[in-house]
Symmetry: C2
Amino acid sequence: MCNGLLEAGAELVSVYDPDTVKVNGFLSKFPEAQPAASMDEVINDPSINLIACASIPRDRGEIGTKAMHAGKDFFADKPPFVSIEQLEKCREACRSTGRKFFVYFSERLHVEAAVYAEKLIKEGAIGRVIHMDGFGPHRHSPEIRPAWFYDKSAYGGIICDIGSHQIEQFLYYTGAKSAEVEFSRTANYHTKEYPDFEDFGEVVLTGDNGATCHIRLDWFTPDALPVWGDGRTFILGTEGYIELRKYVNLCEDSGGSHVFLCNKSECTHIQADEKTGFPFFGSLIRDCLDRTETSMPQEHVFNTMELALKAQNAARQDKFFKE
Amino acid sequence: MCNGLLEAGAELVSVYDPDTVKVNGFLSKFPEAQPAASMDEVINDPSINLIACASIPRDRGEIGTKAMHAGKDFFADKPPFVSIEQLEKCREACRSTGRKFFVYFSERLHVEAAVYAEKLIKEGAIGRVIHMDGFGPHRHSPEIRPAWFYDKSAYGGIICDIGSHQIEQFLYYTGAKSAEVEFSRTANYHTKEYPDFEDFGEVVLTGDNGATCHIRLDWFTPDALPVWGDGRTFILGTEGYIELRKYVNLCEDSGGSHVFLCNKSECTHIQADEKTGFPFFGSLIRDCLDRTETSMPQEHVFNTMELALKAQNAARQDKFFKE
């Protein structure tokens, strides 16, 4: 988040985390930041316009509400909420304070293939978008996970967490404002040592404009994949389709961002690295300075999370296979 | 169907179609066949053990029932039925006559990548299969379609038709015997000139062994794709995953059958052409001669079609986008 903002011209002021090891790690990358003694010191610093927050997901909404009441715009890592109640409080804080609440939906905003797809769709390369399939596989890597990673009340469940990325992409690429949840499922298929963990999830949506969506989420990325996940997005339009291989071209490279476009006149593989950059961060900064809404409409953030939380709450919960 | 059988050692006896143009087309490829004067002549020919039938889908079940009562085994193109009633009559005919009713689920049986995947799964290359995503896109090509192509009572709907392939693969690869239909949808998004046509479909299943499935079907293959459809199968297991690019490696070749395997120890692209052949046809012939059930269990055929028809009948029906 800080990288993206700094590359777009932001100035880094201060950093706070209750864990000083983490603060020192951050400072080794960003020596210009001043370590703050408390969160309140950051929230009350009059020189700061925007706070970026990647706390435990459960705490983000409350910190954001507090920051907005202190006159700051807020940029939360995803998922920004783990409950509808947190979301509604934040929505109300946006309304009453006039401040902005951005979310770092990195799987679209910070991936060049995803930015390139947006351009193609806007140009009409695949006609009207009918359907999106999104795969969000992730490597589990239990050896590096903090305790809260396995506490559903802290991270909100696999659909709230990973699924919010996918739902955001669906609403964005199809232009739907909201959607119905037709079906949702979470499961623990193979992570017996953490019985409350959700290692699989899926959701089917129908957008308010008729576009449809299936997303699949999992923590089963195998060791031999050279990246953390073979994230894919398939966007089907009336005149063609786009496939995004967002982080790797499976078995062909060791990491890269790829767009495959097929329509009436071309079938083209576009290597998207260093093609688009990440315009979101500059737009976000301008939105803060100019009080505009060019980077991400405020209601898009809340509609995305409302859908993710509804799908999470409605999910059929499956357990291990019968042996 | 005849190609596969002849390559496996079958002898072609006779051919019948009410359309003599089609009979002549067939005879130009297979000059050893004798044209029959009627369907009954074929059904009653004592030299024939097996009848292969690619009539209009609506008629296949009845022809098969008649053929089995005349002592023949039967090999239907898919979909073999367009209603549960036809299915039940055929199931009963199998029981009462002891004859066999095979279905040409070509997207698994006659695709080398799909045969290769079966081998990998049996070897344990991806552990236990958790989930399958199947994409069944097809080129519409209205200029070559007969009138019944647009008559749902004749072809059964997009899930019954294309979806039965995908459901068959799900049951086969996961080892589920049957499944619940969690959600299904058909739509006519963009084929306004044929308002009853279904140009899109999707289904979510939960297998009786806990494995899950999403399939997506459509008639939107764009002109620039060098083959009729970019059929994909993604098989997620506890220890890795397989992606099948069944008919083309998008933007990389002009047609080929590809397996991508990623697990703990390897991330490998296997060009599957001329690797496996099509063992189904030889097994089918042996099953007919030996009265065994090695090529495809009889109940697998009926369970597949029962699921496809249930999903078709339960489908949410969507229409054009709001403009």
